[in-house]
């Protein structure tokens, strides 16, 4: 990408490093996966050791939206509103089979995967996923954040 050189890539790496180890997540909890989220966040399978432990209970203060559990059609507008209230940069993790693809609920009531409503970065399958899987998904998201380049088009010469 033009405009990038050694300094900008170092800057990107530094910003990526800072962002990935200071994730503030907003747990949009609906269903059974919420129990595994509680396990992941608590002392046994601590999510805090990856820097993502502080739960922000307002989407305006969060940068990671954890959609945990089934999203029904009644809840879909709420999810979209919450997503739009978040400020860039923001990432979304679809936690659990119901958020990934509707899970076992293929009927009139459940949204068949939240990527029909909002863009998703990491999908964590499982019904419910084990806490180790959640942490694996979180690490993959951290890799993605590390590699995310900034927008350097303003530095393009001529």
């Amino acid at each position: 990408m033009s405009g990038t050189d050694f300094l900008t890539t170092r800057f990107d790496t530094a910003v990526g490093w800072a962002r990935k180890f200071s994730l503030f997540h907003y747990p949009f909890i609906t269903a059974c996966c919420g129990m595994e989220y509680m396990s992941t966040a608590c002392a046994h399978f601590d999510i805090d050791r990856f820097g993502a432990g502080l739960t922000r209970f307002s989407p305006r203060q969060a940068d990671l939206l954890l959609v945990v559990g089934t999203v029904s059609h009644k809840l879909a507008p709420v999810l979209k509103t919450v997503y739009e209230q978040m400020v860039e940069p923001k990432w979304v993790i679809a936690f659990g089979a119901c958020a990934v693809s509707g899970g076992i609920y293929q009927n009139y009531a459940a949204v068949q995967g939240i990527d029909r409503i909002i863009p998703v970065d990491v999908y964590i399958p499982g019904c419910p996923p084990r806490p180790e899987m959640v942490l694996d998904g979180l690490l993959k998201l951290q890799e993605k954040i590390q590699k995310q380049p900034q927008d350097w088009r303003w530095r393009r010469k001529t």
Partner: protein
């Protein structure tokens, strides 16, 4: 009063409203005409039958038959530790029945759910509107005529 006499006592009290009684798998069932439902329910709630708890209120959709909907009520008597199931059939053209809100307070939400899922009307209900589905949802999902997988999204879905 003993269990064997219970059904006879109830039938003696409400001879016109009760159509039949069945006992299957240890459960007592009374089939009631829908016009007499309120009378039977108030009588059962009071002494000496003491069915103080309305455990459940639901509906079954028999699509093929003339009496399409069948309301099923489960009553429980705490003092006598006895259960009773009451059924009342409703025709397909006018599925309306009396509301039990005056007798048991949980009938409010239970009847709203039956209205939402089956489209059965309840006369005398203070606030009959959808409870589980959203405004703008057309149709009644648990009817046999509603397709299982027909989604009605509230916001546009990407594919």
């Amino acid at each position: 009063m003993e269990k064997e006499n219970l059904i006879e006592e109830i039938r003696k009290r409400f001879p016109a409203e009760i159509e039949s009684d069945i006992e299957t798998l240890g459960d007592q069932i009374l089939v009631v005409r829908r016009e007499g439902l309120i009378a039977v329910m108030s009588g059962l709630r009071a002494a000496p039958f003491d069915y103080a708890v309305l455990l459940d209120l639901t509906c079954v959709d028999f699509l093929a038959t003339e009496n399409r909907f069948e309301m099923v009520y489960h009553l429980f008597s705490l003092s006598r530790n006895r259960r009773l199931r009451i059924k009342a059939s409703l025709p397909a053209e006018a599925p309306v029945v009396d509301s039990l809100v005056g007798l048991w307070k949980n009938a409010d939400w239970l009847e709203r759910e039956v209205f939402d899922m089956f489209g059965v009307g309840f006369m005398g209900h203070p606030d009959l509107r959808r409870i589980l589905m959203y405004e703008g949802f057309e149709g009644h999902p648990l009817r046999k005529s509603y397709p299982w997988r027909k989604e009605q999204p509230l916001i546009p879905m990407k594919d």
